[in-house]
Symmetry: C2
Subunit: 273 residues, 2 copies
């Protein structure tokens, strides 16, 4: 049974009192963040908090808790998990409104969720993605705006893909909920613009630093299709190979040796977190 | 006391059972519509329904009720209003989810709200708006995505404006929740692209048809600033003059004579609806 903290009250999730009269529901005015614990410790807590606070600042929704207060809530909720590692979702909306538009007191929800489990074979065989001409609206912040993904994913099964790669004017930006990297002539390259700066992206850049040349710059769709290796990074995916883009096979259709090095490194990092 | 219909159950609004575990809240995956009754009859019911259904189709959220079933719910809720005219909001989201992303059963909410009341003097003196470089994402549908407005409106009071006029690449599209028209050399002109096709816009075009030359075409910001008259249309605003855009005064800062004709016509139409 998962628990949540909603505006100061901790309950089990089904008992949480909410109402549709919320600016998240009525006006899509909300943001979130999401992280996991390893060995009972929130992964990269400082970075996740910093990003959550930045998203709130850009959307201009005041965050009702300080970093320390939030950490305390996280510890309380974690204790209710009986020592099991879990995921945390933070959700901050404009709050309940009396006229469908005015913000009064934001709603902050902190909720535990099951850990994500890797699909069997996924990290060896990689995933296939479709491309889609789009740049997220305000990509630098983790808003709740995923309408394009929710539309597109209804075709994923039919298309044999599990995610979507956004591109615009010839340049790629990111997947629906994760960053993208390519290897080209042994150099590790990742887009710099129109992305959410992922915490796992930042972690992987650090892990790669000692042994790889790194380029953070605009990346074309064409060089992505021609790359030696392509992979995506996120909290749940860690380092996950992309072996198919539309009808193109990337590399030999399996995880590439350079991607494997980074996957091993992040697996080692979270194992000992 | 207003009432709502939520997935088959009618209750007073505060008693409605909802949960944050909804794809509207978690993923901004929702749409809505909004209309008023006049003399106990929903205004332009056929057109509003058609638009609601179109929004749902584009967002690929199945609507759980047919047009006739929905009309019956509207009548039941109206009866609970004791014969008072009111507004109706339809809200359709991706529904509750068990993994924060998968859609199962959509949530449909039909709720009555207070009628909007004109601000004193507003239709005589018009409103002032600020400009903002932006086109709504998927403007043809009435999604719940209003994050830019919710950010911008925190500065409205300081800027002395009450709304925002979106423009991009030199062309205007719409206000945050309403359409825009200009009069130029006696011709009535309104943008054709990147807009939500408002029901009041359509009504006004019909009312103008007998006496005005009409152009539905791309409209530049420059010609808007130089227009003889500018006005906006929406369910709640009907025909509302815009007399200031950023630092520019439009016309003589009062409702113009041509706008006045259209305002009178729509007031007459709703009075006798």
């Amino acid at each position: 049974m998962h628990h949540c903290w909603l505006n100061g009250t901790i309950t089990d999730v089904p008992s949480a009192r909410f109402h549709f009269n919320d600016l998240g529901v009525l006006r899509g005015y909300g943001l979130f963040d999401y992280f996991q614990t390893y060995n009972g410790r929130p992964f990269q807590w400082d970075w996740y908090w910093e990003r959550f606070e930045r998203s709130a600042r850009i959307l201009r929704i005041p965050c009702p808790l300080t970093k320390d207060q939030t950490r305390q809530v996280v510890e309380e909720l974690f204790a209710l998990q009986g020592g099991q590692d879990c995921a945390f979702r933070f959700l901050l909306t404009g709050g309940f409104t009396d006229d469908s538009i005015s913000m009064h007191t934001p709603n902050l929800i902190i909720v535990t969720e099951d850990l994500h489990h890797d699909k069997p074979g996924e990290h060896e065989n990689g995933i296939k993605v479709m491309t889609y001409n789009y740049v997220r609206d305000m990509p630098m912040l983790k808003s709740i705006d995923y309408k394009h993904l929710l539309i597109l994913r209804q075709d994923f099964e039919r298309k044999g893909v599990s995610d979507v790669l956004f591109h615009k004017d010839g340049y790629i930006s990111e997947l629906s909920r994760s960053n993208v990297f390519i290897f080209k002539n042994g150099r590790l390259i990742t887009p710099m613009d129109d992305i959410l700066e992922g915490i796992t992206r930042k972690t992987v850049l650090q892990l790669a630093q000692p042994d790889f040349s790194i380029e953070v710059r605009p990346v074309t769709l064409q060089e992505t299709l021609n790359a030696e290796e392509v992979f995506t990074t996120s909290t749940t995916k860690r380092v996950l190979p992309i072996t198919g883009i539309d009808k193109y096979v990337i590399g030999n259709g399996k995880i590439g040796p350079q991607t494997k090095i980074l996957l091993d490194r992040i697996n080692e990092l979270v194992k000992n977190w």
